[in-house]
């Protein structure tokens, strides 16, 4: 029963998602009311590249949204978070979110290298343990 239902719903869902994403690509931010060239467009290097970049960017933004969801971000927040990123930041995050440093201060796993860090702390090369100050 559930399998049958899924077989019917899945194609519909896929179609909806694809259609839903198309207008976004078509209505990407472009010229303002009188056909003026936007500052973003003028700042990007050349037009063909700018068009391709815009398509990439729409895809990247979706990609980053998915990555944020996978990282446990509240679905209600994901869109607003990605919207506030610049084009370059979106591209960076789409390419290498996993390699980005995430400010956190996790000291837990560090006890294995406690002694080395203690020495480097005393030398002022690192600043892991507050008591060495």
């Amino acid at each position: 029963m559930m399998k049958k239902l899924a077989r019917v719903i899945s194609p519909l869902l896929i179609a909806c998602l694809v259609l839903g994403s198309l207008p976004v690509a078509a209505a990407a931010p472009n010229a303002s009311s009188d056909g003026l060239v936007s500052t973003q467009d003028a700042l990007s290097a050349d037009q063909v590249q700018a068009d391709r970049k815009r398509i990439d960017e729409v895809l990247s933004r979706q990609d980053v949204q998915e990555q944020l969801l996978a990282q446990g971000v509240d679905p209600a927040e994901v869109e607003a978070r990605v919207d506030a990123l610049s084009d370059q930041e979106v591209r960076d995050m789409a390419d290498r979110l996993d390699d980005m440093p995430a400010g956190a201060s996790v000291v837990g796993a560090l006890f294995a290298v406690f002694v080395i860090l203690l020495v480097t702390d005393i030398l002022g090369l690192t600043d892991v343990f507050p008591f060495t100050r």
Partner: protein, 318 residues
């Protein structure tokens, strides 16, 4: 029996040698950062910003805590609890740099990534701007990434004053701080209301920061930032161009045309400014001057040539 013994007698000097070598190599990158004299920088010898409230971090949330401190100092009512879902990545147990900048934009503050050096850092603090810095408190092999807020310094003691982690106004020597800061390629950010610019920023960084800010907010919010940019660097044609677009989008066509005109005066080869000048004059009904501007745009070799020609054709056919 003899083999393990020999191994252990050799291992000790080898270990000591390795440690000494490692420390020498590490010590090679360590050194006191160079700072210009306070006179040349034009900053006081010591200073602490008293109006930056402290928010202690909970768990791994130094990112949201740092944001709350600079936003509060800038007059924005934001608390750590509402910032956490906006910037924290639960699986990573941390926050990444692009999202730190994006979150500041959501609170209508323009994030400027300043030059990564002590001179820029100290100048910004001296100008009353708390600075979010990213550090790796540990070694590159076992990173402990961390955000803190620089709120003061003492040039005589060579110490930086930070709101960091659970510690308010903690003091760290310039040398130690620089070692930890260098590992983030000396990432430092100030967040200012639209219409203010950091003292130490370069014109192109400022231009891009404002363009990114407008993209995330709206032309109305970004307008004061464009005005200040054009005021500070009147010779920067793209600054006038951005101002023109913001004026146009907020319903000031005359001001927009003036700004585009300024852009063409600063850089007569900027075809896109001629194009927008022509289009905005056309919308104002000033057909003759619109045609002149579009002719200029069509005459210049640029990617905007086709668009200028089309606009000219449309103008003639009317």
């Amino acid at each position: 029996m003899s083999r393990p013994q020999r191994l252990s007698t050799n291992a000790r000097p080898a270990g000591v040698l390795l440690l000494v070598l490692t420390l020498t190599i590490l010590g090679g990158c360590a050194g006191s950062p160079t700072i210009q004299s306070p006179d040349r920088l034009g900053i006081p010898e010591q200073l602490k910003l008293d109006d930056v409230p402290f928010h202690g971090q909970r768990d791994y949330q130094c990112g949201p805590a740092s944001l709350a401190m600079v936003l509060n100092a800038s007059g924005v009512d934001a608390d750590v609890d509402s910032l956490i879902p906006q910037v924290f990545l639960p699986e990573r147990e941390g926050s990444v740099q692009p999202e730190m900048l994006a979150t500041l934009r959501r609170y209508e503050r323009v994030p400027f990534v300043i030059d990564g050096n002590f001179n820029a850092l100290l100048r910004e603090i001296a100008n009353g701007h708390p600075v979010i810095v990213m550090q790796n408190l540990s070694l590159p092999a076992w990173p402990v990434w961390h955000y803190a807020v620089a709120i003061g310094y003492d040039l005589n003691a060579r110490e930086l004053i930070l709101h960091s982690g659970m510690d308010a106004e903690t003091r760290t020597s310039f040398a130690t701080f620089d070692n930890t800061w260098a590992r983030s390629e000396r990432w430092a950010v100030v967040a200012l209301p639209p219409g203010e610019l950091p003292d130490s920023i370069g014109r192109h960084r400022a231009l891009n920061a404002i363009a990114d800010f407008q993209r995330a907010t709206d032309p109305q919010t970004a307008l004061p930032a464009w005005r200040t940019l054009a005021e500070r660097w009147p010779e920067l044609a793209m600054g006038w161009f951005g101002l023109g677009n913001a004026e146009h989008a907020t319903g000031n066509p005359e001001a927009a045309a003036d700004a585009f005109r300024q852009a063409t005066e600063q850089d007569a080869g900027l075809a896109v400014a001629w194009l927008n000048l022509g289009l905005s004059l056309e919308a104002l009904g000033d057909i003759d001057r619109a045609r002149d501007a579009l002719n200029q745009a069509a005459a210049l070799p640029s990617k905007w040539r086709e668009r200028a020609r089309t606009a000219l054709d449309e103008l003639s056919s009317e």
